[in-house]
Every structure is written in C-alpha cells, then in structure tokens.
Symmetry: D2
Subunit: 494 residues, 4 copies
C-alpha cells in the first residue's frame, strides 16, 4: 500500500508543479528557499471579520495576517465586502510586501477575509488567495487552509460535465462545488453541507458572500480554526494569536464538522455529521502554530514546554547545558531544563536577515550557508556537555551542520533530544514534506541517524508521551506523519 | 431603442468595473491615462505560432507583440506548449515591462501564443491574457480580441448550471463553453463550431491546445486576423505587421466565420455558416491598425492616404499648408496635400516621453498638459492658413487645445478636416468610446463643434467616400459608430 | 596629430569608464542601448527657474525636463532652493521613471534647476545631476551640459593641492574651482569669471545658490542656452522647447561667454572676454535639438527643411518618392520633396515601444532587430525609385538594413541623401561618437559606402551648403566632426 | 554646560538633516521606523578583506555584511579592488535588498571592503558607504563607523581653502584630510597618522587603496574593530561574528590608536600615541553587538549573562518567573534566573515580520502597534509574579505597553530589572539617542518612572556592577550616556 500512496503523492506533486511557469516577478532576485527547508512546512493562515462596529476591516485583517505570517510567506491577500460588492487585492510576497497604505485605504467595507499563502508552487500568482468568484447567487470570496485527498476524482467529475479550472488549488474546486450545489439548495449553507459530503481531507476555510461570513472546519478537525469577538463583531482565524493581535477575545474553537454562519452580529452554527474521532494535526503543537496560540483548548506554549519535560523524563542525560535549536526547539529546551535541572542557555544565534533573497554559497560551501544563518555562542558552549533540543528532524542536513558547529565551538558532547516522534511518513493534509527517501527517519535507524549527525546520543519523545503534551486539549490527533496511520483512507479511490 | 441600448452599455460597463479592485501594483506611480484619451481605443492584439523549424517561439512571439503593442498597452502575456504542458507568463504593463530575458528563456516550446491587452479595467491583473485553463481534454490557452454582446445571457445560462467565473472577460466564458461542448463533441473543432453558434459579437481568437493551434474569426469578420508563414511554420496575428516583424510572409486573412486548425505543418480550414454580409470594423483603417498592415486585402496606409485625397476632393479649402495631427492624422494629411497641391508640413511635434506615469498638471492647467504633449512649429505655422487633418474627433478637448496652440503660433486660419465621418454612436464590439453625451458629434451640430474648437472650418469625410478608402478590400464594413446601424441586433436579448 | 588626439580621446574614455561599476539597479532588465546607437548622441539638457510668482517650481521643472528628454535619457534630477536650503532628488532613468507626485510635492521652493543626463557611463548613478555641494559660502547646485577638454590637467592641479573627486564628471570639477576662487572673490560671479579663464571646452550650465540663479555659456557658445520669461520670473533652458512647455516666452539666447545672474526678478549680465568667433555645434540643427526649438536666432525646423531643399539642388535625382529615415530624416525629406517636386511619402514606420529594456535578438539575427524597430510601407514603396533622406551616417549599419528592407519591399532604386556632410572626426565637446575606425566616412570613400549600404546613389550635403541652413543664425559654427578643425586646440596641453 | 552641549547636539542634528531631501525611492511604501525606536541605535558595521587565496572577496563580504546587519539596516555597499581599479555597488536598503547575484558577480577583485549603514538621515542615498574617491595617488575606498565631534571645525578649515563637500558624513571629511596630508607624506599611512591628530571622536574605519587594506581605530578605542584570518588572508571587521560567518579565525582586536596595514599577506602595525585610558563604548556589551561576538577580549554573551546575575544579586525580588524583553533582554534574563533560582520562561513573543514597511495603526491605536509586535504567553504569565529584564529604557513607551500587556495576561506583579544604568545623557559618538527631554531617566526619578510604566518595582544595575560584566575585557569604557562624563571634551572647541 505504501508504494501506491507514494505514487499518488508524486502524481499530486506533479499535477501541482507542471502546468504553470513559476510566476517569478520580472525583478526577482535569486530565490533559494532558505526558509527552514529542513522543516515541515504548513499551508496557509486564514482570517475573517464581519464588523458591526465600524471597524476598518481591511486594516484589522492586515494586522491579523502579520500574526499568521508564520503559516505562509509566499503570498497574501485581503478581500472586502463593500456594500455587497467584493473587491480584493492579493499578490505574491510577505504581507508588508504586498500591501501599502494606498491599497489598504481602497479596501473599504464591513466584512473582510484575509489569507497568507504557503505553497510548493513557489511564486505562482494564481494560487494566491482569497479566491473571488462570481456564480449564480452573486459573488463569494474564500480563504482556505488544507489539502483535499480526493481532488483529482472531484475535478474529473466536474470536468466531465464541462467545468474548467484555472488553478490547481482546492478552493477553486470547492467554490465550483458550492456553486453547483447552490442551484438545488435553499441557501449557501445547505450547499456547503453537501460539498462537505463530497470532499475528503483536511480543510478549514472562511467564505465571504455578499451578506454572510461563513467558517467551515473539516469533520476531523485536522486544521485549526477558532472564533473570536472584537467589540460586538465576530472574527474567525486559523490561530488565536491573530485574534489577540487585533485586540479581540477568543470565544472558542470551531468544532470539527461545524459550519458557523455570521450575519450582522448574529451567529448560527450547523453541525454536520462527524465520525466522533477527531484528529487535529499534532504538528500544530510541535511546530506549526505560534507559541502564544491556544488550539482546541490547549496552549501551544505549554504543550512544547511539556514535551521538553517529558523528554527529560523519558530520555534523561547527564549534561551541563540545555540549548534549543532556534527557534523551533527553544520552548521544549526550556521544559527539558526545568525538568532535568540542567541549566538552560542560549547556545546558538540565528541570523534574522537571512531570507528569501539570500544568495546561497555554491554547493561546495554548504557549511558556509549554515554558518551565516547560525552561530554557536562559544563562551557558553565550550567545554560543556550539551543537550540540544529540537522539535523534529526531517532531512537532518541542518542538524548535522549545527552539531558540527557546536563541536567546533568546544562542546564535549552533543546529545540531541527531539520533542516529537520520528517523522517517517508523508502528510496528505497540507504539510509539505519531502518524499520518503528524504525523510531520514524513514530510511535509517536511530543509531544510524545519530552517527550521521555526529551526535553523542539521539532520542525522540515517544508518541505516547507526545500525545500527553497538549494539556487540556478537547480533541483527538492525527499522527500520520509518525505512524503512517491516517484518520481517513488516503488512497484516494474517491 | 437608443436609450435601451445605452442602458445595456452602462450595465455592461458596470459589470466590468465593479467587482474587482483596480489591481494597482504596490509601487505604482500615479496613473492618469494620458495615452490619447481623446481617441477611441482598441481592444487587444493576438499572435500565435506552431513551429516545425526549431524556432524560439517565445522570442518570436515577444517580437510580434512589439509589433502589436499599439493595440493594447495595459498587459502582455505569452503561453508556450512545452511538450504537451502549457506554461505561461503574463502581467500588467507594456511588453518590455512584463518580459525580461530570464522569463523568455524559461518559455521553451514548439508552439506559443501571445497577447497585448487593452482594457477599461485598467491595471486589473485578472484580465491579462492568454487565459490558460485545464478541462476534460487537458489544457488550453487562449488569446482573444473582441467583445461579445450576449455575454450576460450566456454567463447566466452557465451559472444556472453551477459554473463559476473568476473574471468578467469573454475568453473565460468562451473557454467554459468550449469545455462544455467538448464533452459531446468528437474534437475541439466541433466544440468550437457549436460555441460559435452561441456567441454573438466581434471576436478573433487563437487557441493553443496540447497539439494544435486554432485560429477563429467571427462570422462577420469584425476583428481582423491573418495567417502567415515563417519558413515551414504557420503564424496567425491580428495584423500583418506582426508577421513582418518576425520575418514571415502574409498568406491571407482568416475568413469571417473560418476556423483554421494548425497541427504540425498542416493546416485545415473549417468554414462555419455566415450571413454573407461581412462587417470588418472600418476603424481599423481609420485609426486602429498600424499603417504598414494589410487587412482583408487592403493597405491601411493606402486607405488613409486615399481618405485624405477624397477629403480634399469633397471639402477643398484654400490654404497654405496641410498638417496632420500627430500621429493619427499624418497619412491622411499627406493624401490631402497630394490631392490639393497644398504643401504638406510637419506643423506639430508630439512628445514621445509622455506616457502612463506622467504626472498631469492640476485641473486649472489643462492647457499645460496639451502643451507638454504637443508643440506647434512656429516657423512653419506663422502667417499661414492651415488645414489640419485628423482621423476622428471623439470628445474634442485635445483638438480644441491644438487649434488654440496653432493660432497662438500665428496661424491665420485653421481648417479642420476629419478623415472619417462624425463619430456619434457607441461601439458594442470592443472599441472603448465614451458614453454618447461625451461624443461631441452625438450632441452638437458640425457648426457648433467648429465654434467650440475655435476652427475656421470643419468638415468630415462622408461615410460614402470613407467606404471607398480600403482600396481592394474583399469585405464589407461595420460602420456602427457612424451610423448606429450594427451588423447584428445589439439589444442583447440573447 | 590625429593619432595623438585619438589616443587622448581613448584616455578620456578609459578614465570615464573604468573606475565605477555600471551601477545597474538590482531589478534591471537587460539593457542593450537600442536608442539609436547608430546616431551621434548628445550630452544633457538643463533648465532653471527663479520664481517671483509663486509658481510650483519643481512641477514646472518636471515639465520642462519632458521637453528636454530627447537630450538625455539616462538620468534626471531636480534641485530646489527651499528658503535657502537646497534639497534635491535625482536618479537614473527617464523623467517619468525618476519622479512621482510624492517626490515632486516634497520639492518645494522658489527656485529650481533640473537636468536630464546623457552619459557613456550608462546607469552610473554618481553622474546624475544636479550636483549639490556645500562650500564656504553655503550650498550650490549645478546642472551642466558640455565637455571640457582640459579636465585631466585641472583635476591634477587640484589633486596636487589635496582635492578629492567622487565622480569623473565636469560639474564636480567646476564646483571645486568655483569654491576655490570664491575664497578670494567678492562674490560668486567673480569666481565664475576666474573659472571660465581656466576651463576649456564646451559648456553651458546653470547654478543655483541660496539666493541666485546663474546661467553660464562658454566663450565659443558651443552648447545652446536660452533665456525666457514666465509671468514675471526668469527661466533658462538648453532649448526654447522647454520654455514653450512651461508656457513661457523666449527672450533671447545667452551669449557666448555671458554670465547671466538672476536674483529676485532682476537680471544682470556679465560678458566675459571672447575671441569673437563663436562656434555653436552645427549638429544641434542637424540632429540634436528638437525641431520646434530656436537656437541663436534660427529655427531648427527651418534649418532641416532648408538642408533638404539645398540637398535637392546640390544632388538632384530622378525618382518617384522622397521618404525620410524616421525620425531624424523626416523634415529634411520634406524639404527635398518641396524643392524637387518629387512626392513626399511616409515609407518607413518606426516602432515607438522599442526602448532600453528591449531584448535584442542574437548576433545571427541582426536583421530582425532592425525589422522590429522599422518596417517599410510596401504599398507606398513598391515599384518606385526612392530617395531616402537621413541626417547623417555614423556607423552605417542601420542604414544598410533599411536599404535592404526597402528593396525587399519592392523599391526599384534607393538613393540616399544625407542632409549633412560626411561625419569623419571625433567630437571633443560632448557628442558621443564611436572612435574613428567605426566612423564609416572616416575610413571609406563615398562610393565604397554606397556599395556597402547597397544603395543606388549616395550624396552628402556639402558643408558649405549646410552652413547656410540655420537661417538667420547670429553665430558661427563648430563643424569639427566634419572637418577635424575645432574652435580651440583640443590637444589638451592645458 | 549641559545646555550648551545639547544645543551643539541640536546643531549637529540640524546639519545632518536639513540639506537633502530624504531620498525616498519612488516606489517606497510607508516608512515608520518601527525597528526598535525605543532603543538606542548604533551606527554602522564595517568589513574588509585582502585575499591571497583566490577567495571570491565580494561574496565573502556579502556574507560578512549579513553578520553585521544588526549594526545598520539603512544601506549597504561593497567596493572591490579589481587589479588596481576600485569598482563598487551600494544602495539604500538591507543587504539582501541591495545585492543580487548579477551584481556580486561583477564585483571581482582581490580585496574588498563592505559597509552596513545606520543613519538618522534615513534613506539618504548619498550617505551609503563605502565612499570611493579619486585623489592624487589614485583611488581609495572607505568604510567607516563612528562620529567625530569636531567635524564642523575641520570642515570649515577645509572649506576656507576651497574644499567642497557633497555629503555631511565623516568619511568624506576624512578622505579629504588624508588626501591633503598625502601631498606632504611619504605614504598614506603617514597621512593617516596626521589625520588622526586632527580628528576627535569615535571612529573605526577600513581603507582600501590600490594595493593596501588599512584598518584604523580611534585612540580611545570607542568603536570596536577586530582582526581575523581566513586561510592565509587577513580580515578586519566591526565584530568577530563577521569573521565567524566567513569561516575565519579571530586573531585579536585592533588596538586603540592602532593603524594596521595589510599588503599581500603581510601585516604591519603602526601604534599612534594614545592617552592610556581607553574607552570602548559600554553599550556594545549592553545592546549593540551580536551576542556571539567577542570585543576587546570579552564575550558579549557572558557580559549580558553576568549583568543579569549581578542584577539579581544587587536587586533581588521574590517572584515566580523571569522573562526577558525580546530580544535585547533575553540573555540578561537568563543570568538573573540562574542567579536567583527563579525559573526562566519565554513570556513574550516578538513578531519577526514587523519591519520597515509595516503600516502603523493611527495615533489612537498605540496599543495595537505594540500588540502586533509583541504578545504575552498567557499560559506562562497568568497568576505569576514576573521579573522582566531589559537592557535599557530610553523613552519607556514600549516598556509601558508591555507591562500593560503582561498585567492583562494575568501577571500578579511585574518587576522590571534593567541590566544597565539609567540612560540619562546624549551620546556624541554615533549612538543615536533622543534629546534629553525624551530620555525618561534624564527627567524623572526612578520611582516616577516605575509608576509611569505601571510596574511594581524598577531597578537598574549600578554602573559599578555593569563595569564588571565584560569579563576579561582588556580595555576601559566610555559610560558617557550613564554619567555625562565623556573620554574627551565634547564641547567641540576644536
């Protein structure tokens, strides 16, 4: 089965990559994807507001997108409902690169949705959201986070009836399906319920029509989505950090399978049928979400701290200093330190200026690329036995360079502790991971990896312990990347 | 009836304008549309090539688009067929602003189509062509020039079946229709034939599929489209100037209602049913086309020269110098001079650097804006009775300023001769004209206009004579803007 | 002597080219200098205004620079005197590329100077003017057009006293000299008089101090400079077209060797010693200046028309059509036609969109580059004996391609008539010409050139006749490029 | 005396600000200076290399500038010595914004110097370094960090001899002085020695001539400058982090008053006369330098850790959690935690995407601006007594907002501990600080500030203890900003 799945994965990737030129801007500098290529990458952040309080909705959305920028750096967009007409602006780039004050001033309205894009189709302008379409009942705009696994089947069905597609992305497909079901439905909510019966996969999206704001979360709740209030107005966002950013209050999470309909200052909820076993992506706690967010009742910060503590219990080590790999391992390292009593230190510095347009050294100078991005604090490291905590190992290449750097700085020993289980299987729900042969834990044993990294020891938090870390979470988890067992059949027979 | 038509026109305009933010780039300077706003404006130039000779098809298309740039300055794009996969690049701006050598080098393939955009949705990125879609049979890309008059009806029909639209433009609609008819057709040509039965209006388009290049011209032949050959490969283009630019030879014009299918180095023609009375837009000869082009058998240059001659016969004047309003009146002025024997001179200079980003003087300084764009050659004008020939008068504001400028430069008399008939009615086929109340000839008598312009006399070439100017043309003409009589019912009942 | 001069010329060129990276913008598209590389190129346009009428001086200067843009397309700048403090903005690029409305709004003041740059140091930001310096007496800003021949000697003298230079351009040197002489002078005018005794070459410049606007023209009057009035305020400009553009009136030309000092609404003139024989660059009339300008009393348009007429008298030819090489040969062609009675026609079209960022075809496709830029009007050319008039031949490469194009379009004969004398010698005064070996007339006989060009005949207007063309001019001329005899010793002994 | 000094400070500021338009790029978005405006800001980072090993010197400099980017974000530049000719590229913006791979490839040579700019003349292109000048002995390029206090006097002296200045910056003045002294010196080193007798203030600079690389540090050693080796080649840099970044080894610091001359792979040292009391800016350890750097023998990281420890000893507090204000207070917070035994936590998150082009909320929404930039980790803060450590308080506005945020997140108490002494006096040596009335510690008592901030307690590390923190430092310190006592008379009598 595994092979089949991988093939499908490749097919999907091929589909996503082949039919458009990477839409590089005429003036682009060299791009090398130095943003943490050694980390799994998430797909998108979404936000929506329908204001009853004369807020500047575009400005609020702009600020919210800053708080979600870590979820996607390839594109950003805002659509507003200006007295029934949807106008929008979107482009490739970071939020501050896409928007200026003139544009924001043009985006007037009472409701707005926003989006930050992560995509493997880097720079492909067509994929930037929100997507805005016209259909029988007027206009709708959608911001979407997720990945459907039965896209090919559903597209084929629609194509067989004559539909055309201008992108490869899911929201275009979902908008098409909503439009079709809307013909025979009493309202858009009814159409969405029908669409949810068709689509399989992980998704959270917010839809803005001419008079409603609708938030939808998939029946397994794989992707986060929460509801907040600002004054008398409702807000939805991928993470509570975006609600904080605009000064709102987190009310609750949207439930798996729930459709929340906001109209004026009223809110209705439609709960579609769900299996009962929910499956929030565990990686939101491990890496994806911002540490100040709360997801499904649990604090991301506390989860990471707890992971560090449990790791110290499960795999103690006699050492002099605990450090985190910046920035993803810092909180867990703190937890490890608190639990173990080994002092916490800031042993590595990360250069904040190395970004998309950084010109990488040639192949023969791999070490230099890491050296510019990271540096060891020799005075802290020298002569010590180091525990270095990180959240995960994907390819392992950066980790290897960092271990080497620590040893050169005088570390007597380097013990790696990973605050999650070995990352061994592909994600079908929107986390971009390399194919299995590049997942080091998929191919090598723990001892082999330790030796490859040049570390003195290497341990992973067990899955059993990891699942205890989102303290107070009111949901189950998808751990497919650790176990190969997914909440639904990912073979995509439709 | 007239009112009804105008209302529809407004409806169309509203549709075209309201549902997207003018997609201004974050870094745009001020835009004021100084490109000849006092002239009717055309809609788009198209080009296609399927090479059997290892040409660099993207580069050739790039050069061809330079030769078509006068047809549209708001956007440009090229799509290539790279071994069955269509890749493309397009953006708002002039051809040299959109493309650089890196982008061109990425656009490898055996076939290519290109497009230059004119649109009233200035800066709206979504409208830039070619449009590229995926449908049941794979991919197709389309470059389109024209305007359908039954768009709302057709969109409504599709929307009632659940179709969504991401733009307001015709090619998206046509691609949808092709896709739907393709389901029940043996090949794409058959689908196109069916589509042509549905759509009403003026259109020329070139379609690139994974193995074909298909050129289509509407049954009235309102928009030009011609066929050429470069080595052993076929080319299609809006104007023969583009064929010249790439070193090709003009074979013939695509016939009204003809579908030309190019596959490898073979060409098939499908002639759909036509009414018999063809109706090429007469304005192509008056203003739109480049003077070195041949359309439907007639030379644009000769037509303009002839118009000047006939004008001199129809409305002679006793004068000392014939000048043309640069650049649109220059050739007709030459014809007037040759016929009348009055010397031809270059009495006005036009500043080539005044373009899109020119910062206009304030309202109170209208004269200055004209003065920067034009200047009179005092030494040529002073003390003379001037005949100034122009191709048309739309609003008349620039003409008025120029007459004033000539008088200030010492002209004793200024006699305006227009090488076409009074422009009095809206165009429904893609020429952007102001609404009737701004069409000076629609509201005022010839004498009133003459007085408003401050001219000593004003005469228009009669339509009867104008129709004689495309010498050798093998087609009839649409003169709707002069007569209000259109080749088809424009009331859009469907 | 010639060799020595050429060597010096090369030395100068080397100096100008070697010590700075061509300062290409990070986002620059490919640059290939397609702006008429086959034409001699001028160096810069200057403008200044000191307003007593509350004009928006920056805006007026902006418009004036549009009217001077033909004199330099590589950079533009404006400096204003804001209550005694000089602020400025300048950058590489065309006027509309450099300025936007925000920048113009910041440039408030009562006086302004502007500059458009032509330079062989393409894209070198340091050379963009106005140059603004601080010295003992405060600030001064300078816009300069010209070329000194004793720059190395003067720089060396200053360097020996410890001066540093941040550019290679003349205005920095002149500002240094003014600053030094100012120490021992009563006022800046006195310093300028002393500087004019030191510097040798061609120059016109306008200087803005904290309370004055000073215009200076070299003792030979090689570069043009004229004085105008707008309301109660004085203006100076390289060409009268700039005075027209802002709605001003041409008062007179600045005299050779004259220093005009404008303070409030008063004007003083200081006439420095001159030899008596003045030497305006004849090429201003042949090619450089805009046809609507008047220089030293003569109309540029009339001069070109006259050149065509005299050419028709001196070298008549039996032919069917006279055409001009666009745009530089058009007026002379008209003159030739009027004199000869042979009809004038518009036989060649020039593509207005081919500019700096045009991507040239490869070496093997030279013909294509010309074909995209020019096209023959076949219907006008076919079967005719053509007289093609151009202003000059420098390298001859474009001319050759055009002759070929005309023959392909069916011309029976092509007779080339050049409205100036053979261009055989380098210019030392700021007109950028190729080295002698690339000046076709310097190496080959007229018959050889004719054959190389593929023409049926080739004739040049004699210098004797050419000198008659600036009708009414109140000055002598520098014809060094035709004769090798310059108004001063160019061997640069100091 | 204080008043007088402040006035001079204002005079200096006025000089620096008034005579140039802030050179904003035509396409700039809104700028609001959100980069830590509440922190003192440093002035510039410098780097130089003379390679004997065929390094790509421009590429190495590019990487080194990334490691120095924290010292200046307004401009960047690199100059290389290409076989005796200096070529360069520089512009406003961050290192990755200024350079692309094409530019780097053009910068070939054996030696290179680089610069990152901090300036209060934000965006002023003229100030971007390296400055490159031509003088009697050829070319020289300079990268400079510092501030002279006798600039006006020295400039006046030179201006009285006729010198002109094109900028207001020190390196232009120093280059002028070198050039003048070079006339009467045997070599450039001798000239530099003389210049060092004239100039007073803080400075480190690196000079590249046609065959030498020369590093100079002021007699008090106020600005850091260190020497490294990469293979057989010498490197100089503002901080050792830049030496690490390129893979080099730190040899030693340049001594106060030392001139280091590198030629081929040889190094000579000239020690000019110094007073004996050296005065490195203590703020390098407190805030400016990167934590992985070593300056004058001390580790920046250890100094900050020690400051936290001493603070915990000097001002202990009974609390539940120690947090640092990100990022400047993090290391000291760690030290405080280690010493006090109170757990360290990550209580505040800082948004990495808020940068120069961030559009700030309106005045009435000050809280929101802070909320987007920072967020409290509620789960860590709630119900706890917090010690928040920061490096300094300048205006105090951001600190106030953060205290408010912590209290809202449920902090029971907030105790502020500052790891340096009260910042009360202006810096005359290049650290940009607000005028005294905006320095909160200059106007208010500690108790008043505590109340203004809404904190439960506020304590500063005493200067006595602070001076113990750079453990192992081989230098004295300038503590002028804390004491108002400067290593030299700053009244600038000359």
């Amino acid at each position: 089965m595994q092979e089949k799945v991988v093939m499908m994965d490749n097919t999907l990737k091929t589909l996503r990559h082949t039919n458009k030129l990477n839409d590089m801007p005429a003036s682009a500098g060299p791009f090398d994807g130095t943003f943490d290529v050694d980390k799994p990458r998430d797909a998108c952040g979404i936000f929506g507001i329908l204001s009853c309080d004369n807020h500047d909705v575009a400005q609020l959305t702009y600020y919210a997108l800053f708080a979600l920028q870590h979820r996607g750096q390839e594109g950003a967009g805002i659509a507003v409902n200006d007295s029934g007409t949807i106008i929008y602006y979107k482009d490739t780039g970071l939020v501050p690169e896409v928007f200026n004050s003139t544009i924001l001033e043009h985006l007037k309205g009472r409701a707005a949705i926003g989006h930050v894009l992560y995509t493997t189709d880097i720079g492909n302008r067509e994929n930037v959201q929100p997507i805005v379409v016209k259909y029988k009942s007027g206009q709708m705009a959608m911001s979407y986070n997720g990945n459907l696994i039965n896209t090919p089947v559903l597209r084929q069905k629609l194509e067989e009836k004559g539909a055309i597609f201008q992108t490869n992305n899911d929201p275009e497909l979902i908008a098409s399906l909503i439009s079709i079901y809307r013909i025979t439905s009493n309202d858009i909510e009814e159409a969405i319920v029908k669409v949810m019966e068709d689509i399989k996969g992980a998704y959270s999206f917010v839809l803005m029509t001419q008079n409603k704001l609708i938030a939808v979360r998939d029946p397994f709740g794989i992707k986060p989505l929460c509801l907040g209030k600002l004054d008398n107005s409702y807000i939805v966002a991928s993470e509570s950090s975006a609600i904080d950013a605009v000064g709102g209050k987190l009310l609750r999470d949207i439930n798996p399978g729930e459709i929340v309909v906001i109209q004026e200052n009223e809110l209705r909820s439609i709960q579609t049928e769900v299996s009962g076993k929910t499956a929030l992506c565990i990686f939101e706690f491990v890496y994806t979400a911002r540490q100040d967010s709360y997801i499904d009742g649990a604090s991301v910060y506390q989860a990471r701290l707890e992971a560090g503590k449990l790791l110290a219990i499960e795999y103690p080590v006699d050492a002099d200093l605990v450090i985190g790999a910046p920035d993803s391992g810092l909180i867990a390292a703190l937890g490890f330190s608190r639990q173990s009593g080994i002092p916490y230190g800031s042993g590595l510095i990360k250069n904040r200026y190395v970004g998309r347009t950084f010109i990488k050294p040639g192949q023969s100078q791999r070490e230099m690329a890491v050296r510019i991005k990271f540096n060891a604090i020799k005075s802290e490291i020298e002569g010590k036995r180091i525990v270095m905590v990180d959240d995960s190992i994907v390819r392992g290449t950066t980790t290897k360079s960092i271990v080497h750097m620590l040893k050169q700085a005088g570390a007597k020993e380097v013990h790696i502790r990973i605050s999650s289980a070995p990352y061994r299987f592909p994600c079908y729900f929107g986390i971009d991971t390399p194919s299995s042969e590049h997942l080091v834990a998929s191919t090598y044993t723990k001892d082999e990896i330790r030796d490859m990294l040049g570390a003195d020891s290497l341990e992973y938090l067990s899955l059993e312990e990891l699942l205890k870390t989102p303290i107070g979470a009111k949901c189950g988890f998808c751990c497919g990347c650790f176990t190969g067992k997914y909440p639904m059949d990912v073979r995509c027979e439709g």
